[in-house]
Every structure is written in C-alpha cells, then in structure tokens.
Symmetry: C2
Subunit: 282 residues, 2 copies
C-alpha cells in the first residue's frame, strides 16, 4: 500500500492508473477511522480495482469556533486499518499543500445547503464541496463512496457531480452503528461515559419516528413532536435541529408522500452528533 503526501504525485499516480485501464475508487475521509469508514473502503473494493483512501482534516469546512484543532487524529492506526481493508493507496496531504496562501476558488451549492447543517454551519458545505472537487481532480476516481450518516453532505456531493458533470459515480454507504445503536463517528471519542449513554437519544428518537411512520403516521409535526418527547428524556442533549425534509430537495415537508429524510444534529455536552433516517412509504 502506497502512502502519497504530495497532491501532484497523487494526480500523476491516478493518471498512470487510468492510463493502464484501472478503475479507481475513492474514499474521502478525515481519518481517525472507524468501522463506518472501513465499510466504505470495502464498498470501494467491490466497485474498483484501485482503492484510494484520502485522509485529510479539511480546514475549510470548519468554522473558526469549531473543533478543527481538537479533531482526533491517529495516522499510524489509520494506515494499518486501510491496509487491513486492502486499500491500494492512502492520500495524506498537508493543508499547506492543498491550499496555497492565495487560494481563491470555491465550489458552492446554493439550494440544498440553506437548511439543516448548512444553517448552523454556513461555510461548511462550501469547504466540503471544494475539497471533494479537489480530491476528484487529484485521485481521478470513477467511483467515490460517501457515508449516509452525513446525509446532507452526500446529497450536496451528488448535486455537485450532477451540476458540474464530474465523471464520477457516487456510491452511498449505509450508516454503521455501535451495538447499542449510536451511529459511529470519529467524534464519539469526545463523549464522557455519561454523555455516551445520553447520546443514544438520537437513535431512539429516530426509532420512534420510524415506528410511528410504520403505523401510518404521515404528518411530520406529529413525528417531530414525538421525537422531541424522546429527546426530553436526555437532559445532556441540546437539539441543534431535527427536521423532516424532502429527500431530494431538502425542503421541509408537512405530510409525507415522497421519500422523506429525517435529519438531526444534537449537542451532547460539547460534542455535536448527527444522525438520520429516510422514511419511504411502502
């Protein structure tokens, strides 16, 4: 398995692979890998014969008040995990090499990013779309895998690929959960024992909504009321947002007809956790 630090070298390697007829699968990550990431690497393996895992804690998707410097990192462990999943290359650039001092070009999405995480993190998706565009141009994948936990991100990236015509097929990877239901996240490491217990309220609230939906409830106000009831049982949890939105446009929905995304972001202590589910009428 090759470790590549230089963006130029990554692009040269990718051009070489493409010239040799290889199919490149890219798994963009911020490192501190968990089983969720590893499942994405395995998905990439199924679809491609050259798997590139990028590990880059992208500064442009963090606001000044966010946890960029605290974000957990462990490259030695990440490297071993990538190898164990059969990755062919790890692309591990520095921020200085990715962003020149006078960099001035961004990719912006202006519709899907107005609500949900985009409302609380106004420059976040600009940073995400920009770095993913860069990674696509450097690793030149035919296939790129993104986790469904970052529901809005996945939809923004799909929209970017569609609107800018990137020759990349986006493969979503299902959310991977701890045995007790907590969605895996690199940020879970920040949770104290008490917070870890309270963090289960996200999955429980989604469970309640899914259960009501199965029983025939279609009014999102009712689903949201019930979810807030569940959340109230976890005093350490402060809701950033819980919303029911159209799965495609991400616009709020009052009565569920087409597939509906329930997305939530919750601070448990100082740690911001996200989770989601898609409700589809049978």
């Amino acid at each position: 398995m090759k470790i590549i630090r230089s963006p130029e070298e990554m692009q040269q390697e990718a051009l070489l692979l493409r010239g040799n007829g290889r199919t490149i699968g890219l798994v963009p990550t911020m490192g501190y890998l968990h089983e969720g990431h590893l499942s994405l690497i395995r998905l990439a393996r199924e679809r491609a014969n050259a798997v590139v895992v990028s590990i880059f804690v992208n500064p442009t998707q963090f606001a000044p008040n966010e946890d960029l410097t605290r974000y957990p990192r462990d490259f030695v462990r990440d490297e071993a995990l990538c190898q164990s999943q059969g990755a062919d290359m790890v692309f591990y650039p520095t921020a200085t090499d990715m962003y020149l001092p006078d960099h001035s070009v961004y990719v912006v999405e202006e519709s899907l990013t107005s609500g949900l995480c985009g409302a609380s993190r106004p420059t976040h998706f600009r940073g995400v779309a920009t770095v993913v565009a860069k990674l696509f141009n450097l690793a030149l994948p035919q296939v790129a895998v993104f986790g469904e936990k970052d529901a809005q991100q996945l939809r923004v990236i799909k929209r970017m690929v569609r609107d800018l015509n990137f020759p990349v097929s986006i493969v979503p990877g299902p959310i991977v959960r701890e045995p007790d239901g907590l969605a895996m996240s690199s940020r879970n490491v920040f949770l104290s024992t008490e917070e870890r217990a309270q963090a289960l309220c996200l999955r429980r609230a989604l469970d309640r909504a899914e259960e009501l939906f199965r029983q025939g409830e279609r009014k999102t106000a009712e689903l949201l009321r019930n979810m807030q009831e569940v959340m109230a049982q976890c005093p350490a949890a402060r809701i950033d947002y819980i919303e029911c939105v159209d799965d495609e446009s991400l616009k709020p929905v009052t009565e569920i007809g087409k597939p509906c995304l329930i997305a939530m972001a919750v601070f448990v202590g100082k740690t911001r956790l996200i989770d989601n589910t898609v409700l589809r009428a049978p």
Copy 2:
C-alpha cells in the same frame, strides 16, 4: 468531424478517447468564430491529437441586462470553420441540457474577479468558471486553449485549474487583430461603420502606453493619463474602465516593477469592447 449535442455523449466520447491514449485539446468558444478562435484551434492541434471545439453561448455568464439574446450565432458557418482547421469534434450543447432547472452548484473565484470586468459584471466570472469546469469534466482535455484578449478570464481559469487541481494544462493564445489593430471579437459585427472607426481608439491607447513604457515611464498614473487623452479623441467611446494591475494578483499598481497588465473595457455605441497588453520591463 463529429458534432455532439448531448453532454453525456460528449463525456462518453472523451472517456473513450482517453482510454485509447489520445491527448484531448479543448477550445471553449461561444461560437460566431473568427480568426482569433481559429488560431486557438490550431494551437490545440499542435498540442493534442483529438481537438474538441465547444460552441455554447453560456447564459450564466450574461447578466439580465446584457446581450445574451443578441449575441451573434451562425452554427453552419462555425461548423465549416472548425472542419477547415482540423477539429475532430464540435460540442454544441443546448442550455437546457447544460443547466437542469434546479441546478445549484457554481464555481466562484473570490480574489481576481473583484476588479476590472468583474466590477462591472458581478456574476460574469462565476458563470465562466462554472461552465468551464463543466466543459473540462465533459470533454476531459489534457490541454485547453484560451485567448489572451479575455485577459481576466484567462487568469481566472488558470487560478481555477490551480486551486481545484484540474488535470488540465492551460495554453494562452495571443490576441489576433484586424489589419488596422482592432482586436478580433464576435461582437465587432455590432459596430456601425462610424463606430468601427472609433473602436480603433482601444488599440491606439494601448500603443501609447506601450510607447511611454519603452521610453522608461513606470508610473501608471502617467500611462493612464495618456491613454485617456487618446480616448478623448473618440467621442463615441465611453470608458468602462482602464486599469494597470499586477499581472498575477490583478491588484492595482502605481509603479511598474513586475509584469503589469493594462486592461480596458470601452463601450463604443452599445457594444462593449475589451483589449489589453502586458508590460514587462526588459
């Protein structure tokens, strides 16, 4: 020579060419081709063995008050001209196929676009960068040729390639002029006989600046004063801007040390013309 209208087909053709080891050269144009464009096609021919000319009057780079609908078009003539220069493909998409009704992703450049044409046309370069990113992803060129007449555009595209890591090498094509010095432009067709004569003032003003620079003048205020003097002789010409800027940052320069771009935009009647020159100390 192939005519391709569908973006999907363009991308498939490009992938096929790349798979066969071909080098693709792209010449993005808005059609109504003149000798300036043809010189760019020939430049692409020298560097690539598959030349794609795109012809697309891109709506997103025109403001509502600008000349989108009036912009001259003649596809039959353009097709013959492309063939005469040995182009392999003409990509001629519709606006509807290029921009879905809910398209929402743009490429923005936030430093080089604040002045010059970006000041009078605030959404212009967002439209240009976005469509060029799309064309790069559809035609997948290793080489793309842009004319130096659109000085700011050329620098914005180079910056986009650098900052988003497009695997494309940008080749600039020198300005091609009519025998009397007027820079070739599809918009020259709008000029009346009287306006055509007055339009020479752009080149004359640049000539004056070049002459003073050769004689040792380094103060841009002095160059600009002289250029305005020349412009005053053409009453039909209304200056949009004349500026001396650093050739790299496009920031205003008062005393010329590093290469300096003198760029100008002038309305002659209702037609907006641009021209420029780069002053380099020997």
